[in-house]
């Protein structure tokens, strides 16, 4: 993980909302969603506010709006996924888009076809939005060069997973009452701190969360085995700890991360049980936290980074995170589709 510049954590430009007055019309400053890097505070604010509106759809019996009717969204998943893929598919369908799921493991990649040739084939069907998950960092950037569609990064190697960070932020805003427009820090996380525990170095969720949480004004602490903490953390404005109990002391919320075994080169810790004792959210540690909320991007490895009782317990916001994934992804897909029609950032053929 190479360090990048810390984004400014200032508040976004004021939303002049309320009946009878102007609202912000332009949309995102970018035509792709490749990472939190590249999003302004205004972009994040717009995505989160729209996600709140999309989350109203869950209450309806007819959970659909016609906005993306006639648009095609292709989920290109070259890595395994349960929640992200289903979440993007449902988000697109609830916007009335046509969706296709491409899975690397059952595709012609097995016959030796390259990533770019696969991308060109998909492009020949003129998709509007491509959602890409791939094992290599920068894959989504490469994809933007061979497609006219808007590209959403659903996870590229250990680099970024922007919609995960957005739904994590949305979950925190909900928990702390900050989805309410009347709250003095509506849609902001100023004054709150989050401790991320675990395999930070190999986690795209960690990186996207650092950037997003800092943009929203939260303080971020990280802790994990030395072999799992990358260099350059201070350039993200993040505070590194050696000891878990110290890192968790007084924190507003905790996020546990899974050991990314599929991304490790060689052994980085003695055993799962040892990891659990030193860095896991054990029952004892959870009890110490009181009612401090616990997040996890999933999938969880029960008994490794988190005790089963804690994952299923009252502090856990894990199911809220999954729940909010659809609304957040609907917000992203809607704004990217809208961006396709802009003369400054949109497609060449309009």
């Amino acid at each position: 993980m190479t360090p990048t510049a810390v984004p400014p954590s200032g508040a976004p430009s004021p939303v002049v909302s309320g009946e009878g007055r102007a609202v912000r019309a332009e949309g995102l400053s970018t035509r792709h969603l490749l990472g939190i890097e590249g999003l302004t505070a205004d972009d994040v604010d717009l995505l989160l506010r729209n996600a709140k509106v999309f989350s109203q759809l869950y209450q309806r019996s007819r959970k659909k709006v016609p906005t993306l009717a006639g648009h095609t969204v292709v989920n290109c998943f070259f890595e395994n996924s349960t929640r992200t893929r289903m979440s993007f598919e449902l988000a697109a369908k609830r916007l009335s888009a046509d969706t296709i799921n491409f899975s690397g493991s059952t595709s012609s990649l097995k016959k030796g076809e390259t990533f770019l040739d696969t991308a060109r084939t998909i492009e020949s069907y003129r998709p509007d939005i491509l959602v890409l998950r791939h094992g290599s960092a920068g894959a989504c950037h490469l994809l933007t060069q061979v497609t006219q569609a808007a590209v959403v990064n659903a996870g590229d190697g250990a680099h970024e997973h922007p919609t995960q960070a957005l739904l994590d932020a949305f979950t925190l805003l909900e928990h702390f009452g900050r989805l309410d427009d009347d709250h003095p820090q509506a849609f902001r996380l100023d004054g709150l701190s989050l401790a991320m525990v675990g395999d930070i170095a190999h986690s795209r969720v960690a990186r996207s969360n650092f950037l997003c949480l800092r943009l929203l004004g939260a303080e971020v602490r990280v802790v994990g085995p030395a072999t799992m903490l990358p260099v350059g953390l201070d350039s993200y404005g993040v505070q590194a700890f050696d000891d878990v109990d110290e890192a968790l002391d007084g924190v507003s919320a905790v996020m546990m991360l899974r050991i990314q075994k599929e991304r490790l080169n060689g052994p980085v810790l003695p055993s799962d049980a040892e990891y659990h004792a030193h860095y896991g959210l054990t029952q004892e540690r959870a009890a110490q936290l009181g009612d401090t909320p616990v997040l996890h991007p999933g999938p969880i490895n029960r008994g490794v980074e988190i005790a089963p009782g804690v994952a299923d317990g009252p502090q856990s916001l894990i199911n809220r995170q999954s729940h909010h994934g659809i609304a957040v992804r609907m917000a992203a897909l809607h704004l990217l589709a809208k961006g396709l029609h802009r003369s400054d950032t949109g497609r060449a053929d309009g």
């Binding site: 009878g20 709006v65 589709a337």
Partner: protein, 174 residues
């Protein structure tokens, strides 16, 4: 922006609407379901709710965001920020009065009908508008009109003001 209707003219138009609605719905068995189309229609609906309540006509107020239902929802000029729909009642079987500030092409009302019908099956939908400026592009008509106005096609009407509502003219930015 130049002024089209000063506060007293807007007040007169609101009074017209309020009277029509009171005549039709006073003595109804259930409260009147006013649904204001955000943002201009919501302002008018709130004003109507206050006036009708003062007259003893029971009203419930809902706010409808049609941004996602517009036939130009993804166009460059369309709003990116969603405001959300806030209907504290069920429309199923209800007599609903859709409220908007200006009736022009009729496309907003078409979108609003789609939005309302996604929330349930109303018994009847009526349309009340503060101002009808003609220029329809769809076969849509208002049941209750505050006032009719005649303006050039290249001008948009903007309802503004907090306490004293007035209507201004602004050129369309296309």
């Amino acid at each position: 922006m130049s002024s089209l209707l000063a506060p007293d003219a807007v007040d007169a138009a609101l009074h017209q609407l309020e009277s029509h609605l009171a005549d039709q719905f006073a003595g109804a068995s259930s409260p009147l379901a006013l649904v204001g189309i955000r943002t201009g229609g919501a302002v008018v609906a709130k004003a109507l709710q206050e006036r009708l309540t003062a007259r003893g006509v029971a009203c419930e107020l809902g706010l409808l965001d049609i941004t996602l239902y517009r036939d130009d929802a993804l166009a460059q000029g369309a709003n990116a920020l969603l405001l959300g729909t806030d209907l504290p009642f069920d429309v199923e079987g209800r007599q609903v009065v859709l409220v908007d500030d200006v009736l022009f092409t009729g496309r907003t009302i078409r979108a609003a009908l789609d939005a309302i019908c996604d929330l349930g099956r109303p018994g009847r939908v009526h349309l009340a508008v503060l101002l009808d400026r003609g220029g329809r592009e769809l076969p849509i008509a208002a049941d209750f009109v505050g006032a009719t106005v005649d303006v050039d096609a290249d001008q948009r009407l903007v309802l503004q003001g907090d306490d004293a509502l007035e209507v201004a003219l602004q050129p369309f930015s296309r």
